[in-house]
Symmetry: C2
C-alpha cells in the first residue's frame, strides 16, 4: 500500500547532459537533468529562464546535448555550479562546431545537435522542443551495426529527490521479448 | 573525433513506465519509454496516437506513471506487446484508484498520478503535458527524511537504439558537489 507524498518530481533517474550553445559568439555550457523525448523525432530540454545559455539558444535556435559519462563528470557538474551570467565558461571544454553551429564538447562520446522548433513555457522555465539535426558518436561506442552500444557507453544518471548521481548498470534483457 | 550518424534518438537510458488510464470505465495500460520533465512541476508522456490508452487520457485528462522495477518487468513489457484495441488488459494488474481517478498499479513501488494540462502534437504522437497531482510511494523506498531513495528503488531503464533494458546502477556521488 503506497502513500501519497505530495506533488513530487519522481521520474528518475534521468540521463545527465551538458547543454552547449553559442552566446554572443562564444560557447557557453549549462548542466541539465530535465529533458525528454517526444515522439520519434523530437528532444525536449528544460532550462530555467535566468540561465545565460538560454539567450544564445533563443538567438541562434541551436543547441547541443552532450551526454555525460564518469570520465568528465566533475567538469560537467561544475557547469551547474557556475553561471555564465557571472563567469566566462567558454574555455572549459575543447569543442568542435556541429553542422548547424552548436559547440559539441570533445569530451562527450555522444552529442546530439538540435535545432529549436518551439519553446514551450512553464513557470520559470523555457522548454526547448527540438528536432535532431545530427547525432555525433565516437566509434568506440558503436556496435558493428552502427548503433549506440549501452554496454560500453554508460551515461551518468541524475535524480533530484536526494541530488545524487548513479551509474547506468548492466543489461537486463530485451524490450518486447521479456514479456512474450 | 566523433562522426555524425544522422538524426538518431540517443537520449538514453530513460526510466521505463507503464501508463495507466481508465478507458470506457475500465483500466488500461501501455508501456512507455519516452517521457520527460518540464520545469519543476510538469511531466511529459509521449504516446503514439493509435494507442487505445490515449482515448481514455483524452476523455478523463488523468493518467498514472507507474515506474517499472525488475520484479514486475515481464508484466510491464507485455503491456507493450499487446494492444488494448484488440485485447482487454483490465485484469492484468491489481490497482488502487488515485485521488484523481487514475488506476495506480499495486506492483509499482512508485506511481505518479498526473492531470493532463495540454496535449502537444508531434508527428503521429500525443505528448501529454501534465501537472503532478500526487506521488505515491511505498514506505520501503523512502529515506528517513521521506525522500525517494534510489539506493533501494532501482527503476528499469530503456534504450531504443538496440531495444534493451538496463539496471539503475550504484551511486557515484552528489550533484553540485563533485565539481566544486
Amino acid at each position: 500500500m503506497k502513500k501519497n507524498i505530495g506533488s513530487v518530481l519522481a521520474l528518475y533517474p534521468m540521463p545527465l547532459a551538458v547543454i552547449g550553445a553559442m552566446v554572443n559568439g562564444k560557447p557557453n555550457y549549462v548542466l541539465v537533468g530535465h529533458m525528454g523525448i517526444m515522439g520519434h523525432d523530437h528532444v525536449m530540454v528544460s532550462l530555467a529562464k535566468p540561465h545565460y545559455t538560454n539567450k544564445g539558444i533563443i538567438d541562434n535556435k541551436v543547441l547541443s546535448v552532450n551526454i555525460v559519462t564518469e570520465e568528465w563528470l566533475a567538469k560537467a557538474d561544475k557547469m551547474g555550479c557556475v553561471s555564465g551570467n557571472k563567469t566566462d565558461k567558454s574555455e572549459t571544454f575543447s569543442y568542435t562546431l556541429g553542422e548547424k553551429g552548436a559547440p559539441l564538447i570533445d569530451d562527450a562520446l555522444l552529442t546530439i545537435e538540435c535545432e529549436v522548433e518551439d519553446i514551450y513555457d512553464t513557470k520559470g522555465f523555457d522548454n526547448f522542443i527540438c528536432t535532431i539535426a545530427g547525432t555525433y558518436a565516437d566509434d568506440s561506442i558503436l556496435t558493428d551495426a552502427g548503433k549506440i552500444n549501452y554496454h560500453i557507453l554508460k551515461p551518468v544518471l541524475f535524480e533530484m529527490p536526494t541530488y545524487e548521481y548513479f551509474k547506468t548498470g548492466d543489461v537486463i534483457g530485451n524490450c518486447m521479448k521479456i514479456g512474450k
